[in-house]
Symmetry: C2
């Protein structure tokens, strides 16, 4: 399992926000209940998301969390990077360049890691939160109220 619960819970929670935080902020208690996740653990997840500027918090009663940007402007890669740290496969293959590897000249595997990383980034940073819920709508799995429906 390459992605920890932090990343998986966080991504599910962000998708949850897309669906349910259109009109007003959603409190963690509700997300935790709906997604079956410990609320105090989710706190730590959202602390990271907030620090990364992906969600805005509204404190006090009737508060909660909302997306900081429209769903189609937040990529899955941004979310996972905020929660899991840099998504590198090896030191020699990470977004934006190469770092510290004394064997760069002779390493037989570096080009492979870089190629794989590029492929992964291609998916991660081209898929947005909107894509997640759109796919869901297309297959007709979703349960909650239609967030796009006029009220």
């Amino acid at each position: 399992m390459l992605i920890s619960t932090k990343g998986r819970y966080g991504l599910r929670s962000m998708a949850d926000l897309v669906l349910y935080a259109q009109k007003k902020p959603v409190p963690l208690r509700v997300i935790a209940e709906r997604q079956g996740i410990s609320e105090s653990y989710l706190e730590q997840v959202f602390a990271l998301l907030r620090k990364a500027g992906l969600v805005n918090a509204i404190r006090g009663s009737y508060g909660g969390y909302v997306l900081a940007r429209p769903a189609h402007q937040i990529t899955v890669g941004e979310v996972l990077q905020a929660l899991e740290g840099p998504l590198t496969l090896a030191n020699c293959a990470h977004r934006g360049g190469t770092i510290e590897c004394d064997k760069m000249d002779t390493c037989l595997t570096m080009p492979f890691w870089q190629k794989l990383s590029a492929k992964i980034d291609e998916v991660l940073f081209s898929t947005t939160l909107q894509d997640l819920v759109d796919e869901e709508r297309a297959t007709g799995k979703r349960q909650g109220p239609d967030p796009q429906a006029p009220i």
Copy 2:
């Protein structure tokens, strides 16, 4: 860092075998020295590779390891799977099907994990050890003797 040293050391060692184990077995001591890896740690890596049927061991003096199959018949995916265990991103996305997820019906992220896993597997299981050294030859980085050269 999604791939641990076991996977990275192992892949580098397998590439090393492609280059240097054409005529006779290569002892761990030599690989460890050439790749700058602890020999006793490499032992554990090669125990896994042997159990996965990817290398054959020759015991005793003048022994060592050789590839169990030609380099173009061993994929990077096989090597990493033997060393890292199943390369799944989440429970709901692993090679050959879906397992235990009580939220399958409503999970917004499952299709994404499956799509990403498929992309990764595409690279992992279409790249062979031979491809690693071929790329190396193309860019002219390699140092050792040409294993394809007639003797």
